[in-house]
Structures are given as C-alpha cells and as structure tokens.
C-alpha cells in the first residue's frame, strides 16, 4: 500500500504546512493580552489540532474515525470561538455526552474500552470495526509523526544557532 501511503503523506504535508503558515503569520490572535507561557501553550495546542484535522481531511471521510475526529474538532472550534478562555469547558457538555460515552467505554472489558477511548469515534463501534479503524488510524498516525518530524527538523536546522 505504499502508493496510497505516499499520496496520503503528500496530501497531509500540503494541508499541514498551509495551516502552519496560517498559525505563524501574524493575525489578531497573537496580539491578545495573555500570559507569555499561555501564548506558547495555546500555540502548540493549535498546531496539534491543525495536525489532526489535516490528517483527518487527507485520509478521507470514508473512514469512521476521520468523521468523528472532524466533528469533534468542529464542535471544539465553535465552542472556542464562543468563549473567551479556550481552556474553559462548558459544564453542560462535560456532564452530558462525553462523560456518558467515557463511562460506557470504560465499563467495557478493560482493554477494549481503553482502545475505544484512544481511537476517535471508537465508543460507537463494535469490536470488528474498531480493530479495522485502529489499523487505519495507526497507519495515518505514523505518517503524521513522520511528516511532523521532518518539518520540525527542517525548521530547527534552518534557524540554527
């Protein structure tokens, strides 16, 4: 499957670099009055979210985990734009769905429940589909890590001291 892996890699790299440029270029977000450490942390969170979203888009929506990840990202973004403080989680959301789903995944026999918690959308799948989605998810994660490592190396080497 190396052809599809390469195509996936190229797709992801393109999307990821585009979103990195959007994050790095100075916009209204960077000049908000926040603590310096928080700025850095928020930026790393944005990068992480951008990485996962671009990977999900690159992988295609025929996979259940990509759809679940993208819907989760969409709801997160909507909530973040609504609230002032991005770390603030509205109590309604925390009580209702996520806790129930986490409890349901945890009630399941140990290991399978843990796996459901790790794979996006895993709590809704049953065992066979879960394993299939996990395989594809692991493949995409490996590509993601490889590309991100290459970008980090490139940036760190070019901004050498």
């Amino acid at each position: 499957m190396s052809a599809t892996t390469e195509q996936l890699e190229r797709n992801f790299t393109h999307r990821f670099l585009t979103s990195l440029r959007r994050i790095n270029s100075p916009d209204s977000k960077t000049t908000t009055t926040h603590a310096a450490g928080l700025v850095i942390r928020r930026r790393s969170l944005r990068i992480k979210r951008a990485a996962y979203s671009s990977m999900a888009r690159a992988a295609g929506s025929h996979r259940a985990w990509t759809r679940a990840l993208l819907s989760r990202a969409r709801s997160q973004r909507r909530r973040q734009q609504h609230d002032v403080h991005p770390n603030y989680i509205p109590p309604a959301q925390r009580r209702k769905s996520s806790v129930k789903r986490a409890a349901a995944a945890g009630r399941e026999m140990g290991r399978a429940g843990k796996l459901r918690g790790l794979v996006p959308g895993g709590s809704r799948m049953e065992m066979g589909q879960l394993l299939e989605e996990t395989a594809h998810y692991v493949q995409c994660l490996a590509v993601q890590v490889r590309v991100m490592q290459a970008v980090a190396d490139h940036f760190s080497s070019s901004s050498s001291m």
Binding site: L20, F155, M161
Partner: protein, 384 residues
C-alpha cells in the same frame, strides 16, 4: 475395606453399653452390612456396595432406553441442583431398573478394563460401560451425560460417598443446559471443551458442524476479529505476541505513544516562532514571500549574514529586548523558536557550574535575561 470399617464403627456407636467380644461384634456388623445391601439406604460405601449389589441382584431384561434415560437423568439433575449425595444415592439405587443396569454392568465388567486398582477401576469401567449402554440406546435425552463422561477424566474417587458423585461433578463443570443432539462421544467431548473455552454458547458445536445460527454467526465474528488482529500485528512493532490480550495491550501502548509523539512535535514546532520576531524588528522580513519556511529562511539569512558566531548571542539578546518591550508573548515565542529559555541568573549559575563540561556541542545554549538584560550561556560560565 474401609466402608466396612465405617459400618463397624457405626455399629459400635449404636451399642455403647454392650461390650461383646470383638469377633462377635464384627459378625453382627457384617450382618448389618448385608442388611444395608439388601435395602440400599444412605450407605456411604461405593465400590464394595456396588459389587455386593451386583452379586445379589436378580437379572431382569434390559429395560427400555427411556426408562434408563430417566433413571440416569434424575440423579444427574439432583447432582446438578445440589450437592446432596444422599438423596441422589437413594434415588439411584432404589429404582428397580437399577438392578438390571447393575446386572449388565457386571456382565461387561468381565470384559472390561485394567485392574490396577480393582475397586476404583471397576467403578470407572462401569461408568464407561454405562455410557456405552446408553449410547446404544441411541436416545437424545442422555446425550448431555455423554459430554460429562467424555470430557471429564474420571479419577479414583477420594471418598466413597457415592459412586456417581465424581462424574456428576465433572458434569456440573463441563455441561451447560442439556440440549438434545445426536452424538458421538469423542468428538463431542473435544467440541464441548472447545466451546467451553470459547465462551458461553448454549450449543456445543461439533467439529465442522454447527447446528445453531448463533454459533455460526459468533464463529464468523471471531474469525473476522482474528484476521483484523493479524493485520494489526504487521503494523505495530513488537508484534510477536500470540496472546490476544497482550496484543491488544501492545496496540494500545503504540497508539498512546504515537499520540504523545504528535503532542511533543507540536510543542517543538519552532518555525513560526522565529518568523514572528523578524516581522517586527528586521527590515529584511518585509520582503519575505510568506510561509513559515520562507520567513524563516529570511530570518536565517538576516541573522547569519550579519553576525559572526560569537556575536550571535548579542544579536539574539537585542532582538529579545526589543520584543520584550512590546509583548512578552512574542519574545518568549522568539526564544522558543531558537531553542532558548528564560531563567534567573542564580539558577543558570547553579546549572552551568554543575554540568559545565568543555566541548559539549549538542547542548543548546542557555540564554538568561534579567532586568539588567544580562545574557549568559553555558559556554561563558568558564569566564569568571
């Protein structure tokens, strides 16, 4: 002759006051034992019991298979329900058709088995014969009994309460609800063992033959899961585990590891941070074409071209000072982009004196800024 001794002990207890001579006592108790054998009660004796019973039993034609099945089923039901040896024993031996069974068993005992431990193996052989008898009856009802016979290895009974107790216990372990199914004894045993290990399906699957749609669906599901696990094994490193549970553990750990790597890599994303500062300070950044890489290259060109290696620290220092005047956040981002951090001078002194070794090229330089804008790195600690 332990059962006899037990009987004698009972006899002794029953008549405490009388003190007859011992031999008379023994004779009296032997009569008691014979009486027991003629009217089977809750006697504890198993093997000798059975032998006595067989010798004294009147032969009668082999009863119908249905009656035999009922005969066998009731003690099993009792055994499955409760651990009451006594009731089951009574039920078994009081039935008149038990006599005919015993006769048949006696007849087959002559043909059967090894005689290493005479009583016990005779008992075991009698059970195997019993099984074959019922097998020849060919009814569906006694089929569940076969499973217990075949699956459990009948060992010599540790206690002599009841001859049917041991196989009964193995029945309780190996069998679910009894279901009518035609059968061969041996493959059934292996099939039942296999299904017992699989889970709790109510039907015992034959080898290569499934009677229940549920078991077929479940087997299909398990095969699907097995092949998915195999494909996962190729993706995940360290996949030499044969156990499904440890394989799942490995998969979980690998997914967690990959997600942690993404998190760390996103924290170390340096490119953009370097781009922020030059946009503010250096004029060369105005010509950048956009994009993190492009801006970074401009930064590198601006910094690298204009400063030698020794004064790079001063350059950085000035940049940071300028950034700190307007926004602390951008200053920190610039430092992070360079792989530098802020720390108090005292801490920097402590660290550099503790870890200072000449010729450590790979360690990142440490930049220290205080209110006096003093910059110090690890290599400069050697200077007084």
């Amino acid at each position: 002759m332990q059962p006899c001794s037990r009987e004698m002990a009972a006899g002794g207890l029953n008549s405490p006051t009388t003190t007859p001579p011992s031999h008379q006592f023994q004779l009296h108790d032997l009569h008691q034992i014979h009486g027991h054998f003629d009217h089977p009660s809750s006697a504890a004796a198993a093997d000798d019991f059975l032998d006595q019973f067989l010798s004294s039993a009147a032969s009668s034609p082999w009863s119908s298979s249905a009656a035999a099945a009922d005969l066998i089923k009731s003690p099993w039901a009792d055994l499955a329900a409760d651990d009451d040896n006594v009731a089951a024993g009574n039920g078994f031996f009081d039935d008149p058709s038990a006599v005919s069974l015993a006769a048949k068993l006696r007849h087959h005992q002559i043909n059967g088995g090894n005689n290493t431990n005479g009583n016990h193996n005779n008992n075991n052989n009698s059970k195997m014969m019993l099984q074959q008898q019922l097998l020849m009856a060919g009814d569906g009802a006694p089929a569940p009994l076969f499973n217990g016979f075949g699956s459990g290895s009948i060992q010599s009974p540790p206690h002599f309460h009841h001859p049917t107790m041991q196989p009964g216990q193995s029945f309780g372990a190996g069998g679910g609800g009894p279901t009518a199914s035609p059968g061969k004894a041996q493959p059934q045993a292996s099939g039942s063992a296999a299904t017992a290990s699989q889970g709790k399906p109510r039907v015992r699957a034959r080898r290569g033959q499934a009677t229940d749609p549920h078991s077929i669906a479940e087997r299909l599901r398990r095969e699907r899961i097995a092949e998915r696990m195999k494909s996962l094994q190729e993706l995940v490193p360290n996949a030499n585990k044969t156990d499904k549970a440890s394989m799942l553990d490995e998969i979980i750990d690998y997914v967690k590891f990959l997600q942690l790597q993404v998190k760390v890599l996103s924290m170390s994303r340096l490119g953009g941070a370097g781009a922020v500062a030059p946009l503010v300070t250096t004029a060369a950044t105005a010509s950048e074409g956009g994009g993190g890489g492009g801006s970074n290259n401009a930064t590198a060109a601006a910094n690298g071209g204009s400063s030698a290696n020794e004064s790079s620290m001063t350059m950085t220092e000035h940049q940071v000072a300028k950034l700190m005047e307007e926004d602390m956040g951008s200053a920190m981002q610039y430092l992070q982009g360079k792989g530098l951090c802020l720390m108090p001078i005292s801490l920097a002194t402590a660290i550099s004196t503790a870890t200072c070794r000449p010729g450590q090229p790979s360690s990142p330089n440490m930049s220290v800024l205080t209110g006096d804008v003093a910059v110090k790195d690890s290599t400069s600690a050697t200077k007084p």
